[in-house]
Amino acid sequence: MHTEPIYLDPALDRTAIAPVELVAREDLLTWYRVMRLTRTFEQKLAALYRQGGILGAAYLGTGQEAIATGVASVMQPRDYFNSVSRELAAWFYRGVEPKHVMARWFGKDVPPSHGRDLGLFLADLERYGLAPYANAPMGSWLPSGAGYALAFKLRREPRVYVAFTGEGATSPGDFYEGINFAAIHKLPLVIIVANNGFAYSTPVSDEMPVKNVADRAPAFNIPGEIAFGNDIFEVRRVARRAIEHARQGLGPYLVEFKTFRQRGHGEHDDMSYVPAGLRAFWERRDPLRMYIDYLQHGGGMTSDQLSAIDAECTALVEEAVQYAESVPYPSPEKVAWRLYAD
């Protein structure tokens, strides 16, 4: 195997949270609740998939929760974003209800998709700022992201579009076409790249001729920054800078967070291509465990406080499953409904 097993610069590495800002206890607990809820929800999703309760496939973001939570926490309410498949935490942060997510995974008749699309995907601009795009080939969300940002700029609105992406989606042409257009017009587009080391099974060394995705930013004459993605404080520090840069009208900003996907590309993937050493390396850097360590020591939280939140999340996920089981499937009679707008 000619891959470099650890794709993280030692200078960025850490095994403990570095709390670089003063944060209200309430916010610390909100982030914890979001990350815990995401982890618990996805564990349930994986179990349901194995048991045949979830059809199709199941895709998890386990190990990448700090990025989605941290970035969402520094966005403004009217900012838009797109998720790909590892950003469930951002949905929860923005107020998406677990029961609705679960019902979508079950293919049930709940808005806005009414069973037409996978539970993996969600778009609802009005309620969550979560943008529609072509959830098909990789990178398609960069051109659309540029288009939403164009609308903000044409209307002189101080809003920002945050495009979450993985490093695998930085190879297709759409990645370049979208950022190129946004950079020419200085559109408020922030590109958050979660570099988790693998595009499905293909390691970074076989994906790109540069070491970092951020090395591609100079081609667009935009800033490109690399940071450690499993420390929520670090994520917030860098994402805040990127988002404010875009909001000021200075154009796109690319941030690459080094991280690791602890599950397969989907739950059907046994991850046999991941070297054991790499797995162990990142298990010591699990974003949730690192954050718990911080909360219980520097953060001043008791384990009882965290356990109470854990129980709350478990109950929410159980309730979500019950809800998903109870709501009806969409009627085949409505399969052709809402194809063309009036």
Partner: protein, 331 residues
């Protein structure tokens, strides 16, 4: 006043498109244009000449050569409340943006209930020695995709009225304008703000002996063939579909029930072309009325070649339509 408007008060097909765009941009500030070289240069075919001066660079946006990029951006801007009209320099280049059209624009409303009011102007068609990459008629790639509307006008009047409807429509519309008609076809247009609803075919010539169902540039070749057939004593009805999606089935089925014979003419390649769908509909819904097999006249199933004798061999023509019509009439 654009060139061409001055000549005998008639308007070319090209100027009709330009007028529709200009009038819609004046009417609705949400209409914006994106495309290659459409600003200072006025577009490869000069459809948008003078637009940059009148509407400014916020509304007439020159794009880099990256069709997927600006199509994806246009779709998102449409979702955000703008009404973008995208100009492809040639319909052939639509391949570069195929994914954003068929997987984003076409499916967003079905998936999320989010309308995508965007128009893609695609200068299409052959007959002027453009070769394999500047002559294609790719409409059937898009009629196959639920969620898109597909328009293909044949006259200045239709081009203007249909483009206005397309811009006002809340769905993604593929608008195929035939390059070979741009300066060749002209007519007098009304002064009023007329629109032609999508989904209404038009009887371009009435007749009782044979129905020719066609659209786009082939309307004119079909009319020429019909004139020649009239001299032979056969009166052809020429139906111009004008929009392929939504399709006005009733118009051509009514005609076929009257004439009992149908010829389907289209400039795209024979196999898998939209005319095959029309022929199937006639066979399925008007079988008992037919006195002869439904026959198609279309381009041969080879790329559109450059050299004149080769291109002429491939494309349908008034002469080929005439000969096919004689066969159907004599069956």
């Amino acid at each position: 006043m654009a060139a061409g408007e001055t000549m005998g008060m008639t308007t070319t097909y090209l100027d009709a498109i330009s007028q529709a765009l200009r009038e819609e941009m004046r009417r609705d500030s949400r209409v914006i244009l994106l495309g290659e070289d459409i600003g200072v240069f006025g577009g490869a075919f000069k459809i948008t000449r003078g637009f940059l001066d009148e509407f400014g660079s916020d509304r007439v946006i020159d794009t880099p050569i990256s069709e997927s990029g600006f199509v994806g951006a246009a779709c998102a801007a449409a979702i955000e409340g703008f009404r973008p009209v995208v100009e492809f320099q040639f319909a052939d280049f639509v391949t570069c943006a195929f994914d954003q059209i068929v997987n984003f624009a076409a499916k967003a409303y079905y998936r999320w209930g989010t309308p995508v009011p965007v128009v893609f102007r695609c200068p299409s068609g052959g007959g002027f020695r453009g070769g394999p990459f500047h002559s294609q008629n790719p409409e059937a790639w898009f009629t196959h995709v639920p969620g898109l509307k597909v328009v293909q006008p044949s006259t200045p009047y239709d081009a203007k009225g249909l483009l206005k409807s397309a811009i006002r429509d809340n769905n993604p519309v593929m608008y195929f304008e035939h390059k070979h008609l741009y300066r060749r076809i002209r007519e007098q247009l009304p002064d009023d703000d007329y629109v032609i609803p999508l989904g209404c075919a038009d009887v371009k010539r009435e007749g009782r002996d044979l129905t020719i169902v066609t659209y786009g540039a082939m309307v004119h070749d079909s009319l020429a063939a019909a004139e020649r057939l009239a001299k032979d004593g056969a009166e052809c009805e020429v139906i111009d579909l004008r929009t392929l999606v939504p399709l006005d089935k009733k118009c051509f089925l009514d005609s076929v029930r009257k004439t009992s014979r149908a010829l389907v003419v289209y400039e795209a390649h024979l196999t898998g072309g939209f005319g095959g769908e029309v022929a199937a509909i006639i066979a399925q819904e008007a079988f008992d009325d037919l006195d002869a097999p439904v026959v198609r006249v279309a381009s041969m199933d080879v790329p559109i070649p450059f050299s004149p004798p080769l291109e002429d061999a491939v494309l349908p023509s008034a002469d080929k339509i005439y000969r096919a019509a004689v066969d159907v009439l004599e069956y």
